[in-house]
Symmetry: C2
Subunit: 310 residues, 2 copies
């Protein structure tokens, strides 16, 4: 095997109550990458379509993640060759559904496959995080973890990195509305207070506990009751036109919960079953139409596989 | 059935990362209560042993909880009689292992049994909370929920009350060291800041997520890694002599985690299996001996039944 084609899925981070720790892998939208084993050592990005991103390995999310893995892999396997990476972006940058994470995840997943899997999937998360630094300035795993592992993931902590894949019921669907606006990461960070009331924090972790319990017990009602965010959403929602309207329409039409995907501007809803997902998608799209802002809508089952060869 | 005898177990609230939301039911220590159906309507406390507590129904935790249920039960069943309550305290007041909760839980559990169970166990938590107001000035469920339901419980929220019983592995043991000192509730509250850093809050809810995932998946290691408290323990531990020493000895001797039980002063440790629990109990007791303060040690399996007829 010298060349593989990979599907690198979009992801929803935070999920209301799980700010900076929870994430979810999607099926309906993702990038494609081709990873090729070549004689020349090192890692090179040879082609990028669908986005205007740097080809220089050290400036590219996928390149940096790939190099982190490549430079560590020599301690586990003998490497007498290098790798070329083609990136075919489908996930728009700045959409809030893990565009950079998909590239980082695809690169480390693909090279690991071609090296004969010296690393576990959990270990790949560590290398993919290195790529995230290029995109956001910090190592964080809330998108790369679900992108690589699939399903719902919890990043318990970083010291050391501790990522847990959380079981989930099989009929969960996500609907994502991506408004074509730019929310600067600096803005979405600036609106967050560095301190929160202990009372709000308790509400938040009560809900996170409920979400995880609901996922394990396949209790859709409990999942729905737990999808609340009293800390981040109230601060950030003003950055997204019609957020409340879109969220309320989703809830009225059967969503278990809805909120901001990652740092936004995408708005997501979770629900049970594809039929309800279709209804919710239409209601969210309708509710957004009077903004005059173009948007994409994605309907997706929860992707329990994560990044995979296609 | 006109009279029943009840075991009302002690409980550990908070469990490090789950401040105000998590609780755990013990087996090795608890009160006994006798509930008797009598002709005279209303609720009376007729006997209290083991503690100096008021016999007046309206001033007694068990009495207030019992009245709350009694006054609501008339909407579900015909009540042509009253109830007498005897309380035989074994759990010391102010120990931090749910002494008042045991009384409240026992009263509502017992009367509900003698009425033919008009209420579910989850509904009983609501009435028992009313009793907690007498003891602490606020309705809270983090002790009464595990006391009534057994096992580990999560109080997701109060509006409306939402209590979830969390599955747990069968070999979990708790060790509790109760130092014979008084930590005033006002003091243990005063040391808590009304605000916390967002960073600490994220660490805390990451750990709470890990704890719940670890309980469902019976992953003792994950449970152990998650039993951390970066918010409350650092503020409160100074109120308990030798806390760090006792905790460290517990961890050195095989505890998965250790921390402050409820608002203290009791110190608890969780571990896998009775043999390790015995070793930990000795190590904690030894570590406390140089304080010159008397203490009790309890070793207990997790009690998955909760309050029950004996």
């Amino acid at each position: 095997m010298t060349e593989i084609k990979i599907f690198c899925p979009a992801t929803i981070a935070n999920l209301n109550c799980g700010f900076d720790v929870m994430g979810l892998c999607l099926d309906g939208i993702g990038d494609e990458m081709i990873i090729r084993k070549v004689a020349q050592k090192g890692v090179r990005i040879t082609k990028i379509t669908g986005a205007d991103l740097p080809l220089e390995t050290e400036k590219n999310v996928a390149g940096v993640a790939a190099l982190a893995l490549y430079n560590d892999a020599i301690y586990r396997v003998s490497i007498e060759h290098g790798f070329e990476i083609e990136i075919h972006k489908k996930i728009k940058a700045g959409s809030g559904i893990g565009s950079s994470s998909a590239s980082a995840a695809g690169a480390v997943f693909g090279i690991n496959e071609l090296l004969g899997k010296p690393f576990t999937k959990h270990e790949l998360v560590f290398f993919a995080m290195k790529g995230e630094v290029v995109a956001s300035g910090s190592e964080h795993a809330d998108n790369v973890a679900p992108c690589i592992l699939g399903g719902f993931t919890l990043v318990r902590g970083y010291n050391p990195l501790d990522v847990i894949k959380i079981e989930s019921p099989s009929e969960l669907y996500a609907v994502v509305l991506h408004p074509h606006i730019e929310v600067k990461t600096s803005d979405s960070r600036a609106v967050l207070s560095p301190t929160v009331s202990l009372k709000s924090a308790i509400t938040q972790w009560g809900n996170l506990g409920g979400l995880i319990a609901g996922l394990y017990t396949k209790d859709y009602e409990l999942i729905g009751r737990s999808l609340q965010d009293v800390i981040v959403e109230p601060a950030r929602k003003h950055l997204i036109p019609n957020f409340d309207l879109v969220k309320n329409e989703a809830l009225k039409n059967g969503a278990l919960g809805a909120g901001i995907s990652g740092a936004g501007p995408s708005i997501f809803a979770l629900c049970k079953g594809e039929t309800i997902a279709n209804t919710i998608a239409k209601s969210m799209s309708d509710a957004y139409s009077d903004t005059g802002i173009a948007c994409d809508i994605y309907i997706s089952k929860v992707n329990s596989d994560g990044t995979k060869i296609i």
